[in-house]
Subunit: 240 residues, 4 copies
């Protein structure tokens, strides 16, 4: 059991009936529901709440944060991004979903543009497992097939992932590194590609399984914060 | 709770009173005892048993295998090595300890000589944590200090580890990549350096913690074996 | 200018008129010709020559070895494989092509089965560049398209590559890690997927460019062999 | 022959006679001189010049930029940092030296704090080569010994390096990942630890060799910039 916070921009849900039909409780609501069934304590937070719902208290009691954003990345305040980053470096897990690739928090943790190709064409995606030893791919089988998704294509401008877990095939001819892990400070980061707002991707049990696996993998380790700065020697210097 | 098998060459214990004094139950006995306290089902197996104690039955019911060997690597039969390798590729975790760097099983999984520098001089080792986000370093703090150990020094002829967890400092002037993880097939491999037979290293609670963490990390994932060989297309070819 | 040896099994060329038509000088001949144009000193060697053409002399004067094999991997003698492996660990570059994934030399350097899915169905392959900073992808642009190739699909049972350069999209629905680098000992290894014997893949200028880039990247560094074994301390031990 | 720019904060040289005695031409001057001998076209640039000497023109005609900074990281303007970052992502090589670990440009490319332990105690450093296959370690032998250097110790809060080349041993009991490579966008980054301003480290021929090797390794590849954004399909979608 962990304390999970699901963050969602929650804007498409306000303005687009298609999205509202697919996610009547919001993308955050759907994700929160299946993570609760995993036994976690789950909260949600959204852009238009005070401090985007990510107060110091909320973040300090969050073990793993999930992040979905798309059209309003620029409205997320730099101060809150810095706060989230600090918590990741201090050990909080972070799961970045789909269009979150362009969020301030992901870009600042990666150090690159995180740019990519994209296309909305109701096309088929097949996510192939390339690391069948990894806890995040547990129980997935060889691939996950999504009948309709937005395409994301290479080149994906990210640092080489510490671990590459999924590769996507798209009907229109592209490929994509769809499941990538990174470690930053004491925290773990998992980027997982699928989840365009107009498709029922987060209702898919296989996708839910990967996200639930990702949350477990991203659990903070119980570890003292490393000591930085001026350090006394542990051995005698210049004794020779 | 996992099924653990601790494999030990168990030869020094028969011939060297110093080793017998430090490990009256054998190195395998000491390791088995602290892993049992972690709640695992633990067996031991040794070189001079039939099939080195690693029958098909034993291996197929082993989740994680630990390996300590030193002077008799060449006496381990190629057939058993191949059997262990197959089990690792099928998902069994493998923890290779200290002089196990030169075991047939480690060398065949690495593809390199696994050679290194060494020296027995009762010297101090300090293992620094370089990845404080990793479950194997959980609870360790900044470093582990061992008053007396055998030195292993770079260059260590291994493939670049998938994850580097510990770096050792030695009193005599060398450094060493002391905690390294690898994935091979569906299995996970953790190499952990300390543990010369004449020192009480495996009685050290910090060392025990790392090994216990390593065992948990190496737990097999529940995953179907990937399908290899000739494959029918999933999409129509040549429809244009 | 380097000394290059192109090794080819050279069996399909003897028995299959289609292959002979595509590669009248053998696959090795075609590869040797475009590498000579790069200014290298190029030799070829084939399975049915004495010592498979890979005498101690040949190997010791080879900077980079290319390897194409398919139906006769088992006929390559273990002794020659060990000799090639030793040269790689001593610094010789190795470029493994296409069905060479199942060669003894590649499998022993990887430590895994190197198994994969495959299909011969005249289908389209598109190799996407995922690392545009790497010298092996220099000048390639975004992707290479091959109208007809054999399909290789994931899961590809290799260790996680040190560097992942190309990902293939296949018409039939699969993906593949098609360009992978590894370091073993002092040597560099580049696996490059395309090149089924019945297609004119090695006549393709883009494919030739990647192989030529790979050869340059794999150039041995001028470096003393590391010293292994018992080592005298560089610092005074136990002075406190 | 490449166009190299050596950037130095150049403040210690103005205020500290010890530094001036060691580097009468400034740290940048010393580095520029040995890189010129390698046949490069070398310029220098310093903090107090207009735009810190890093105008659009200078950066666009720079193949590899070297960066030394220490006490005035905060005085480097965010605009120039962003400009340098963009050039790295577009392919320019970047060599970050010593206290440059805390520069804005390094931190923004890494996504972490880049914090570490440090101590000025005239102590011995020994940099061990852990990757003898890499062009940056070419010709170095087993290690480089520096009689007196500042200590930097783990934990070094960086992302796991793409390639780890050097590990430092320090007299006072610490270790450090002293040679690390990263790829960001189309650019290559090499962090190299030694070089405290009061020691003659950059006059050391072995250190010069590593930096010269690093510059060659970081050479931009000739590659089109990847295309990002909305993309037309390369294959027919929905034809079934």
């Amino acid at each position: 059991m962990m304390n999970i916070t699901v963050w969602n921009e929650n804007r498409h849900e306000q303005t687009n009936q298609v999205v509202r039909d697919v996610y009547p409780d919001g993308i955050h609501g759907t994700i929160a529901q299946f993570l609760e069934k995993e036994g976690h304590q789950v909260r949600t937070a959204t852009l238009d709440e005070e401090e985007h719902g990510l107060t110091e208290d909320v973040l300090h009691s969050t073990d793993v944060l999930l992040w979905w954003g798309h059209q309003a990345h620029e409205e997320v305040s730099d101060e809150i991004v810095e706060r989230v980053k600090q918590r990741v470096l201090d050990g909080m897990g972070l799961i970045v979903l789909h269009s979150g690739h362009f969020s301030k928090i992901f870009k600042t943790l990666m150090g690159t543009t995180c740019d990519l190709k994209w296309r909305e064409a109701n096309e088929k995606e097949r996510l192939w497992v390339v690391d069948p030893s990894h806890p995040i791919t547990e129980g997935v089988g060889e691939f996950i097939e999504l009948e309709k998704e937005e395409m994301y294509g290479e080149h994906f401008d990210i640092p080489a992932p510490d671990e590459l877990l999924f590769l996507s095939w798209f009907e229109g001819g592209e490929v994509f590194r769809s499941g990538c892990t990174y470690r930053r400070g004491q925290g773990k980061v998992f980027y997982f590609r699928p989840g365009h707002e107009t498709y029922p991707t987060y209702h898919n049990p296989e996708i839910q399984r990967v996200i639930a696996n990702g949350v477990r993998w991203a659990e903070p380790v119980k570890q003292e914060k490393p000591v930085y700065g001026n350090a006394k020697p542990l051995e005698t210097i210049g004794s020779k």
